[in-house]
């Protein structure tokens, strides 16, 4: 899967999630060529335990225009750039704000 396609899905998911949950503010995308990796800033979620995020992962769903798997984490605004990311996601410097 080309990186452009993953980015397209990332933006689609970010837009859908913001549309469906007004408590979501900024959305950060961590680029990867095999899956969509999103951190969504939410004003009403519990604090991340142990200062570390563990995203929820969902399989691809081509029928709904989601050709690659996705990993999505919700964090509180004060946790941006403070909580640790999954090792495979890299670090916060790789984050691109897409929503």
């Amino acid at each position: 899967m080309a990186k452009d396609d993953v980015e397209k899905q990332a933006k689609y998911l970010a837009a859908e999630n913001k549309k469906n949950d007004p408590d979501i503010g900024k959305v950060y995308w961590f680029p990867d060529e095999t899956e969509v990796r999103l951190v969504e800033v939410h004003s009403n979620v519990p604090v991340s335990p142990d200062g570390e995020i563990e995203p929820f992962y969902f399989r691809s769903d081509p029928i709904h225009d989601l050709p690659v798997p996705s990993g999505i984490a919700l964090i509180r605004p004060e946790e941006v750039r403070r909580v640790r990311l999954p090792a495979k996601w890299g670090n916060w410097d790789l984050a691109k704000e897409i929503g």
């Binding site: 949950d21 979620v45 519990p46 142990d50 929820f56 992962y57 969902f58 769903d61 798997p69 919700l74």
Partner: protein, 162 residues
């Protein structure tokens, strides 16, 4: 079997046991115990990346956050036969308070003073030591609308092959 498959298999089995406990002769706390464990395994299953054989999810609480994540999930919204309108989000929102209470049933979250369905505790009001099987667990009545909705959601989520 990878971690994701294993957690979801366990969740399905625990749900099956929970259904078998739906008997007036069996103390209700046992069903709540399985409900708490079942929802924890369900959320943990989705915390494991598909095809990951290396890392078991470590976070024990996560059911509330899992439901919040579902609100934007187009695939699951479709599987549960909700359209693009606000219905699915309203449905999930209506369950978040109960999901929080279910998470807090875990002994590690309940601590020594809040009721949990597994270990005896001292009642703050009376000072009496009580076994969970003798506790009423108000707010978790199977006849409450939120519990009926939660049961419906779990029943629909568990069979999804992810």
């Amino acid at each position: 079997m990878n971690w994701r498959e294993a957690f979801l298999r366990q969740a399905r089995s625990e749900n099956s046991v929970r259904n078998r406990l739906n008997d007036p002769q069996i103390e209700y706390s046992h069903r709540l115990h399985y409900l708490q464990m079942d929802t924890e395994k369900l959320a943990k299953g989705y915390r494991a990346p598909p095809n990951d054989y290396d890392h078991s999810p470590q976070v024990h609480t996560g059911f509330v956050r899992f439901l919040q994540t579902l609100k934007g999930n187009i695939s699951i919204r479709g599987i549960l036969r909700y359209g693009p309108g606000p219905g699915f989000n309203l449905f999930i929102d209506s369950l978040l308070d109960l999901a929080t209470k279910i998470e807090q049933l875990a002994p590690s979250a309940a601590g020594l003073t809040k009721p949990n369905p597994e270990y005896p505790l001292r009642d703050i009001g009376t000072g009496e030591i009580r076994a969970p099987v003798d506790y009423d667990f108000p707010g978790f009545s199977p006849r409450e609308l939120s519990m009926i909705r939660m049961e419906a959601l779990i029943r629909q989520l568990l069979p999804i092959q992810n």
